[in-house]
Amino acid sequence: MTTQLPPGMHLETVDDKIMTLNVGPQHPGSGHMRLIIKVDGDYIVSCDPDPGYVHRGEEKMAEYRNYIQNIPHLERPVIHDSSNILYPYCLGVEELLGIEVPERAKYIRVIAAELNRCIYILYWLAIYGIFLGHSTMFMWPAGDRELFIDLLEAMSGARVTHAYLVPGGVRNDLPSNFEERCLRQVEYFEKRLKEYEAIFYQNPLLKARTEGSGILSRTDAIRLGTTGSVLRASGVDFDVRKKEPYDVYENLDFQTIVMKEGDSYARSRIPYLEMFESCRIIKDALKKMPKSGSVRTKLKPNPKGGNDEVYRRVESGRGAIGYYIVSNNRPEPYRVKISVGSFRNLICMPYLLKGEKLGNMPAVYWGLNYWPVEADR
């Protein structure tokens, strides 16, 4: 019996050797997402990422709220990197409204952003460890993350969703003896980080699974528009903090970490090495920060932006985050477009997984620094 299919639909021809696997859409460690993977035996023939399960309409929501009320919900896509996702929004709104930021506030924002980057990378590393079956690497970063969470809690008053950065500076000044406490905990953390090297990064089992898998060449990385650690792992020296320094990053002493291999191992190692740089930035910023002064420029109630548009971007844990904000003489923005690193890194997943073993899929997938909730906004 042949059934008549509606126009525009067709049946897929099925090869008996090929099996289709749905990875997800349940929570595979980060947020709801699905990979439709076709396998031939143990090898992946094709991969089709299917994002969109956690779309929350952040961009549309931003059109109905004023510039200050937008703060709590715009940090929701990546709650454990909330300072970095708010950073470009604050920079953009400051440019739209013509606000000057006090010098001390700029340093405090950099410290908050770097602490938050460490929190994000440690969370990412913990999940990377458990994805590869290394449960010690889940426990250690998850425990050491507390050091930074406690610091940001003292700074902002919240453990995860800080809502600390605002257009015009930061919400409140640092508590007393924060510098001393921050320095002590960051120095201890650097010592701890060195222990990760022996147990995880020089571990032959990790190297056997990740070295040489999912290789992304330099030209492909540029052609596919990847960003952040994925781009730097393929040998491209690009960091928004260095190339387009915002706030006080140009005064601070740090390096961009670049590796040439472009495989899963390089992609897992770059965020780890970046934590050392983040610690350096925090220590340098604590030293160079003005010891007193205002931290927030007072705004008018319900500030209005002119007929203007602005695009600002910063480097987050997952690559460049850009905000394009259009205003039309109203207290609410006319349009807010968020361009995130997660979504751009997702594009190269089908290319990287082709020909890989299914067992290597978690290492490649998580090394891409893809955060479903942020990618869907």
Binding site: P72, G157, Q202, K298
Partner: protein, 165 residues
Amino acid sequence: MSNVIGIIRALNSGVKHLAVKRFTLRYPEQKLKFVGDGFQFNPETGVGIAGLRGRHILFHEHCTGCQLCSVACEGIAEAISMVKIHETWKHNKKAIMPQIDYGKCVFCGLCVDACPFYALYMTNDYELSSFTKSALIYTPAQLAIKPNISQDVEIKISDRGASHG
């Protein structure tokens, strides 16, 4: 051979931690110490005072019923509603004060930033669990009570590692 050395090195770095003190906080018995008495805001300078953003505290003698906290919460959590109170205050002619639904509140503290009369602050109280949803709605009278908290544990860092107390 180098693989064997690598595995031994990895195991060794784990074994060293057998003697290290546990980092975990034993929560109901121990509680983490916070900075100050909670998040506060100075409307004159427009800058907040660092502290934990926990449950609010409402000062009836300062609250004028201006509804600015409720307006600030619109579009964020819509947790604050203004209710009638059975008190007579000269500065609060309408006799209304905020009532906060902690089932909705996201603890962003923007209501504290909005208050121009030093009437609404936040406290170190974060244990707000209850068996019913209606018990999470705090009336102005409940919000006026200063929480009784004992928090004493801090992170301690020594040569043998970090621990909570």
